[in-house]
C-alpha cells in the first residue's frame, strides 16, 4: 500500500473516492484538500448512502417556506410568523463523552435553527440507552441528561419534552437526538448563501482549536469497537455562554439586516462553511486562514479546515456593512474576523501562511460527493420473527402486570431527567414535559405550537414500514390531544451499518412508511438527519427512526387537556378502533421478555378521523384529560391519568388483552357527565368508535374483565411510576 493510500484510508476515504478527487482536480490533492474532501464526503456530511432514499419524502405543502437542504426547515404560521425546526443526532460523541457529547449536540441543533434567522424557543431530547443495571449505561444516561441540562439551561432555551427509552440494543451505542424549534418574523428569514461576488465572509464566535479534528469522519461515520477510546482526541467541548452571546449577536444582525447569508460551523467546520454557501450561491471564494482566530498555535491548514470547534458562525456581508457587523460582535463580546471574499466563478481558494493550500471547485465538496446505491435485502430472519407470536392463553394478574409496566424505566415517569431541564423559560410552556405532546403559546398571536417526538425501535425492528408509518400517526395524535393539527415533520434516522443489505432495507422501509403516513396526513418532511453505523462489535441497533412532528392550534385552547386535570366522577372513554395488537408491545416485553409477531398496520382513514376528533375535543374544552394510547395500552394510560390527577378509577373491558393492546389510532378521554352526549355525537360524526370503560374516583385503580378483576392501590401505582428511573440509579 502506497504512503498516499495509507493517508486517504486513514482519513476514512476509499480508494475509489480518492480517485474521483483526482478526477475532479486533474492532479493529486494537496494535504489540506484531501482533508476537506475526506470530511465533506464522510457519511455524516455527504449522506452518500442515504441521499437517493431521502428523495422519497414528500416535502411540498403551501405552508413550506424552506424544505430539506438548508440548515433547518421553515414553515409559515400565518400573520407574518415563521417557524424553523430541525432534529440532529449526537450518538457517537455522546458515547465517547456523555456530558460534552450531549451538550455539543444541543449547541449544534440550536445553531441550525438560529442560522435561519429564528430565535430558538424550545428543545426536545430523544435519548436511548442500554439497561440501567449496567453501570456504564447509568454513567452514560446521567452524563447525557446532565449535558443537555448544562448546555440548554445555560444557553437559555427551555427543553420542554422528549423521550427516554432503554433497550439492550443501545447498550454499546446510545442514541442522543435533539430537536429544536424557533420562530421569527417573515422578513428575518436568512439562508445559507454566500451572496454576490465581493461579499465578505466574517467568522464569528469561538477561536478555532483542535477540537473534533476529523470528528465528522472519525466519530460520526465509523463504527465502534473496544478502541473507541483511541478516538478521544476528537472530543469537542461546548460553551453555552459563548453560544448565548452568539445567538443574541446573530439575531441583532438579522434584525438590522446586516447579513446576506449565514452558515453555522458544524461537522466539517470551515470546509463546509465556505464551500456550501459558495456552492448555493453559485460562486467561488478566497479564504485567508491566517485571519482565523485560533485557540492553539501551530495548527496546520488541514486542522484549521476540519476543526469542529463549537460556537462558530460564518456571516456573509456586503463590504459596506462589515464595520457594523464587527461592532455588533464587539457589543456582545464575541470575536469576529474577516476571513474571506466571495468571488465570481466557482473556485474555492484557500491560503495559509501566504501559500495556496487549496484550490478546488467549491461545489465539488458537496455536490460531487459520492452517492451509493447500497444493496438492500429483506432480512432472512424476518418471516421467522413474525411467526413467533404469543397466544396469551394464561391471564396475568392485571394489577401486578400493570405495576410491572409502570415500574419499567421506559414507561415510568421521566421526571428524574426533565426536572433537570429548565422547561419554563420564556413563559410559553402551556403543556410541558410529562404529557403526550408539548404545547407552547406564541406570544403576540392567538396561536399555539405543539410538538411531539416519537421513536420505537422494537416496532421498526418487527416491521420497519408499519413502524415508520405508526410513528408519524402517533406523533400526530400526540399533538392533536393538545388541540393542534399536524403541520410538518422532521425525522432523525438512527440505523446500523448501511453496508449491510438488511440495514439498508430497513432504512428504505422506514422511509416508505414515514412518507406514506405524511402523505395521508397531507404534511411535508421539512428536514432531518441520518445517523448510520449505530452498531457495536458488528451488532446493529434496532432501526430507530425518530419523528418530530410540529402542529399548530389556532387559536390555542383556553384550557388545554392535561394528564393531571382529571377529577372524581368523570367518565372514562376510549376512542378509536377496539382492536387487539400485542406484537412489539410493552406488555410482551416487560411481562414475557418477548419480541416477536407482526405489528398491526395503520389505517390511514381512521388515523385522520381520530386525529381530527382529538383536536376538536381539545379545542372545544370538552375533555379535561386526553391521552393517546401507546406503550402499555389502556392499563398504563389510565394509570398515568390517575397518578397525575391523584384520583382512582374503575374500568372494565370484556377482553383483558384490550387493556395492554397497542393497536394504533386510539386515545383515552375523561368527560364530565354533562358533556358525554356532545362528545359522543362528535365521535359519531367523525366515524370514530367510542367505548365507555369506566369512571374516575376512589383511591384504587380497578380493572374488570370477563375473566378476572384486580385492583391496584393508587399509592402503589404512583410510587412505582415515580421510582422507575431513580431507584435504578441509586
Amino acid at each position: 500500500m502506497s504512503e498516499q493510500a495509507a493517508i486517504h484510508r486513514a482519513l476514512g476515504m476509499t480508494d475509489d473516492e480518492y480517485d474521483s478527487v483526482i478526477g475532479i482536480l486533474g492532479r493529486t490533492p494537496r494535504p489540506a484538500e484531501l482533508a476537506m474532501y475526506s470530511v465533506m464526503w464522510s457519511e455524516h456530511c455527504s449522506y452518500k448512502s442515504s441521499r437517493s432514499h431521502l428523495g422519497r419524502f414528500p416535502t411540498e405543502a403551501p405552508w413550506v417556506v424552506v424544505g430539506p437542504g438548508e440548515n433547518a426547515g421553515v414553515v409559515d404560521l400565518g400573520d407574518g410568523w415563521l417557524a424553523a425546526l430541525r432534529i440532529e443526532s449526537h450518538n457517537h460523541p455522546s458515547f465517547v463523552e456523555p456530558y460534552e457529547g450531549a451538550a455539543t449536540g444541543v449547541g449544534g441543533i440550536l445553531r441550525d435553527v438560529f442560522t435561519m434567522g429564528a430565535r430558538p424557543i424550545a428543545l426536545w431530547d430523544q435519548i436511548r440507552f442500554g439497561p440501567l443495571d449496567v453501570p456504564k449505561n447509568r454513567f452514560l444516561f446521567s452524563g447525557v441528561v446532565a449535558g443537555i441540562a448544562g448546555y440548554g439551561n445555560a444557553v437559555g432555551v427551555p427543553t420542554v419534552g422528549g423521550e427516554v427509552a432503554f433497550d439492550e440494543c443501545y447498550s454499546g451505542n446510545p442514541l442522543v437526538n435533539v430537536m429544536c424549534l424557533g420562530i421569527m418574523r417573515r422578513d428575518q428569514l436568512v439562508l445559507g448563501t454566500a451572496g454576490e461576488a465581493g461579499s465578505v465572509a466574517v467568522l464569528l464566535g469561538k477561536p478555532t482549536g483542535r477540537d473534533g479534528i476529523g470528528g465528522a469522519s472519525v466519530l460520526a461515520s465509523a463504527s465502534f469497537d473496544e478502541e473507541a477510546g483511541a478516538k478521544r482526541p476528537s472530543v469537542q467541548v461546548g460553551d453555552p455562554f459563548e453560544e448565548k452571546k452568539l445567538i443574541e449577536a446573530c439575531l441583532e444582525l438579522y434584525e438590522r439586516g446586516l447579513v446576506v447569508g449565514v452558515q453555522d460551523l458544524g461537522a466539517a467546520g470551515l470546509s463546509c462553511a465556505t464551500s456550501e454557501p459558495a456552492a448555493r450561491a453559485g460562486m467561488g471564494m478566497d479564504v485567508e486562514l491566517d485571519a482565523v482566530h485560533v485557540r492553539e498555535s501551530g495548527m496546520s491548514a488541514a486542522e484549521l479546515l476540519t476543526s469542529e470547534s463549537q460556537e462558530r458562525m460564518m456571516a456573509f456581508v456586503e463590504p459596506s456593512k462589515v464595520e457594523d457587523v464587527l461592532a455588533v460582535a464587539d457589543k456582545w463580546e464575541i470575536d469576529g474576523r474577516v476571513v474571506g471574499t466571495v468571488t465570481a466563478g466557482d473556485t474555492l481558494r484557500i491560503r495559509h501562511n501566504g501559500e495556496l493550500v487549496a484550490e478546488v471547485p467549491a461545489a465539488s465538496l458537496s455536490e460531487a460527493a459520492p452517492r451509493y446505491d447500497r444493496p438492500m435485502a429483506e432480512p432472512t430472519w424476518l418471516a421467522a420473527v413474525w411467526e413467533q407470536t404469543l397466544d396469551h392463553s394464561e391471564v396475568p394478574d392485571l394489577a401486578e402486570a400493570t405495576l410491572a409496566l409502570l415500574d419499567d424505566p421506559s414507561i415510568g415517569s421521566a421526571e428524574w431527567a426533565y426536572q433537570q431541564y429548565d422547561h419554563m423559560l420564556f413563559l410559553n410552556t402551556v403543556v410541558g414535559p410529562g404529557h403526550d405532546g408539548s404545547l407552547l403559546r406564541v406570544r403576540g398571536t392567538d396561536k399555539g405550537l405543539a410538538v411531539s417526538t416519537d421513536g420505537n425501535g422494537r416496532l421498526c425492528y418487527l416491521d420497519p414500514y408499519r413502524g415508520g408509518e405508526r410513528l408519524v400517526y402517533e406523533a400526530a395524535l400526540n399533538v392533536a390531544v393538545t388541540g393542534a393539527l399536524p403541520m410538518a415533520v422532521v425525522d432523525n434516522l438512527n440505523f446500523g451499518n448501511p453496508e449491510k443489505p438488511e440495514v439498508m432495507w430497513q432504512f428504505r422501509q422506514c422511509i416508505e412508511g414515514i412518507s406514506a403516513a405524511c402523505e395521508h396526513l397531507g404534511i411535508p418532511v421539512v428536514g432531518g438527519n441520518v445517523s448510520f453505523y449505530n452498531e457495536t462489535d458488528g451488532v446493529d441497533i434496532h432501526p430507530t427512526p425518530v419523528v418530530g412532528l410540529l402542529g399548530m392550534a389556532d387559536p390555542i385552547p383556553a384550557v388545554a387537556p392535561r394528564l393531571d386535570a382529571g377529577s372524581e366522577g368523570e367518565e372514562v372513554w376510549v376512542f378509536g378502533p377496539e382492536s387487539i395488537d400485542l406484537a412489539g408491545s410493552a406488555f410482551e416485553r416487560v411481562i414475557h421478555d418477548h419480541l416477536g409477531g407482526r405489528p398491526a398496520t395503520a389505517t390511514p382513514e381512521m388515523a385522520v378521523a381520530v386525529i381530527a376528533l382529538a383536536a376538536r375535543l381539545a379545542a372545544d374544552g370538552l375533555t379535561p384529560v386526553l391521552h393517546d394510547i401507546s406503550d402499555g395500552g389502556i392499563a398504563v394510560g389510565i394509570s398515568e391519568i390517575c397518578i397525575r390527577s391523584q384520583v382512582g378509577a374503575d374500568v372494565s373491558v370484556e377482553d383483558w388483552r384490550l387493556l395492554y393492546s397497542e393497536a394504533p389510532h386510539r386515545f383515552i378521554a375523561t368527560v364530565a357527565a354533562a358533556n358525554v352526549a356532545e362528545v359522543t355525537r362528535l365521535a359519531a360524526d367523525t366515524g370514530v368508535a367510542a367505548l365507555r370503560i369506566g369512571t374516575l374516583g376512589g383511591d384504587h385503580i380497578v380493572f374488570r374483565t370477563a375473566v378476572r378483576t384486580n385492583d391496584l392501590a393508587l399509592a402503589d401505582a404512583g410510587s412505582a411510576y415515580a421510582a422507575a428511573i431513580p431507584r435504578r440509579l441509586a
Binding site: 482526541p233 467541548v237 460553551d239
Partner: protein, 80 residues
C-alpha cells in the same frame, strides 16, 4: 496516608471557564496575566501502610470517578 491528586484539564481541550475568568481579570485591569488554568486538587486520607498499594488504589479511584479520562490528566502524590 495522605494522598494528593491533581486533576488537570488536557491543554488541547478547550477551557471555556478559564478563558472567561482570564477575560474578567483583564477587564479588571490585571493586564499582566499571561495564562490561567484552573485545576482541581483532591486531598484524601486513605487507610494503608504501603505507599505503592495506596497509590494504585487511588489511581483506580481516578480512573473510575475522580478524573474524566477523556478530558483530564491526573497526578498522584502520596505524602510520606
Amino acid at each position: 496516608m495522605n494522598v494528593t491528586v491533581t486533576i488537570r484539564r488536557r491543554s488541547v481541550i478547550a477551557d471555556p471557564h478559564g478563558a472567561t475568568v482570564a477575560r474578567a481579570l483583564a477587564d479588571l485591569g490585571h493586564q499582566g496575566v499571561r495564562s490561567l488554568r484552573i485545576d482541581r486538587t483532591i486531598h484524601l486520607e486513605v487507610d494503608g501502610e504501603d505507599p505503592e498499594t495506596v497509590r494504585e488504589q487511588v489511581a483506580a479511584m481516578c480512573e473510575q470517578l475522580l478524573a474524566n479520562p477523556v478530558l483530564e490528566d491526573y497526578e498522584i502524590t502520596v505524602d510520606a
